[in-house]
């Protein structure tokens, strides 16, 4: 779904880099092959990008300028309105903002603003990521029973981190679209907590 945008804007020195937080390349393959991207579509089984950028749910995106500076911190974003009926988030405004930035009509956030909008990980978040890292390694080496308590512990340490809680479900043999996820979502949202946290759109 990012391919059309990439083709539209690539002449303006723009690239999309898509990172799949999936348990294997095979999980992501059908989606990537269908999208047939000519931009890099990468596989991140160990959640390296989630750790580096404090990504706690998908889909999120962030903007990086020509000098390698973050000018919009990671933020929930949809490339289409496929899930709008569920998420109540529309794609048009963020995409318009992105186009304006790539064309040079608007700047990204100023450094102070970008810093203020960047959520930083806590010590518990990083402990959760370490537990996830250990669990993912154990599971990848055929030791799913040993992995399980570390997946659980990671989710308890960072209950807002759905790259851990939902993202670990396929590794644990749980259906990430099924009852375990729906129950988790209901408990979370029922407690008045948002599943998606869009940035305040101060540059819409």
């Amino acid at each position: 779904m990012w391919q059309a945008l990439y083709e539209e804007l690539r002449e303006r020195h723009f690239v999309v880099i898509a990172v799949a937080l999936d348990k294997s390349a095979e999980d992501a393959r059908p989606w990537i092959e269908k999208a047939a991207p000519t931009y890099p579509a990468l596989i991140d089984t160990q959640h390296v990008v989630a750790d580096l950028y404090n990504v706690v749910n998908v889909p999120t995106a962030l903007w990086i300028d020509e000098r390698g500076r973050i000018v919009r911190p990671n933020d929930v974003v949809f490339g289409s309105d496929t899930f709008k009926h569920i998420t109540n988030l529309e794609s048009a405004r963020p995409l318009a903002a992105l186009r304006a930035w790539v064309r040079g009509d608007t700047a990204g956030f100023a450094p102070a603003e970008a810093r203020a909008l960047q959520t930083l990980p806590t010590a518990l978040d990083q402990q959760a990521r370490a537990e996830f890292g250990l669990a993912e390694w154990l599971a990848r080496h055929g030791r799913r029973d040993a992995a399980e308590p570390h997946f659980v512990s990671a989710g308890e340490l960072a209950p807002h981190d759905f790259t851990i809680r939902r993202g670990s479900m396929p590794i644990r043999g749980l259906d990430p679209m099924g009852p375990p996820f729906r129950e988790m979502l209901q408990t979370w949202v029922g407690g008045g907590r948002p599943y998606y946290r869009p940035l305040p759109d101060t540059r819409g």
């Binding site: 990172v19 750790d51 889909p59 903007w63 390698g68 911190p73 010590a123 396929p170």
Partner: protein
């Protein structure tokens, strides 16, 4: 043997498990994490971290992995039964990197296994998207 995972690298090292503690020799510590003790200071190739006063880390050539992680302010996930540990990155280090606004670099494979590095796209505007099939 005991597996220590750090920065995507898993090292098999000799270790002694004593209750809930994992004890490494100086050689095993260097092999697993790249740190060495010099006169009360832990050093790797790029930096040194002084130990707190009165620390007994490394006494008798024995390094408690939990104490090493604490001294380095790194999160540690440990499973003595599975004989594996994961040493993560501290919140402080992440906050410093993100606060600098310089996009942290990474290299990841595509479907064909070909590695791609973020910083090789310097000079372009980048939309970095995180998604998943789940």
């Amino acid at each position: 043997m005991f597996t220590v995972i750090e920065q995507g690298r898993a090292s098999e090292v000799q270790a002694r498990v004593d209750g809930g503690r994992v004890l490494l020799s100086a050689d095993a510590l260097r092999a697993a994490l790249g740190w060495e003790l010099h006169e009360g200071t832990l050093c790797n190739d790029t930096m040194c971290v002084p130990l707190p006063a009165g620390s007994r880390l490394g006494e008798g050539g024995v390094f408690d992995l939990g104490e090493v992680a604490a001294a380095l302010d790194r999160p540690l996930a440990l499973d003595v039964d599975a004989r594996a540990a994961f040493v993560g990155t501290s919140a402080g280090e992440r906050a410093q990197a993100l606060g600098s606004l310089l996009a942290p670099d990474f290299t990841l494979p595509d479907l064909a296994g070909r590695p791609h590095t973020l910083s090789s796209h310097r000079g372009k505007k980048i939309l970095l998207v995180a998604w998943a099939s789940w």
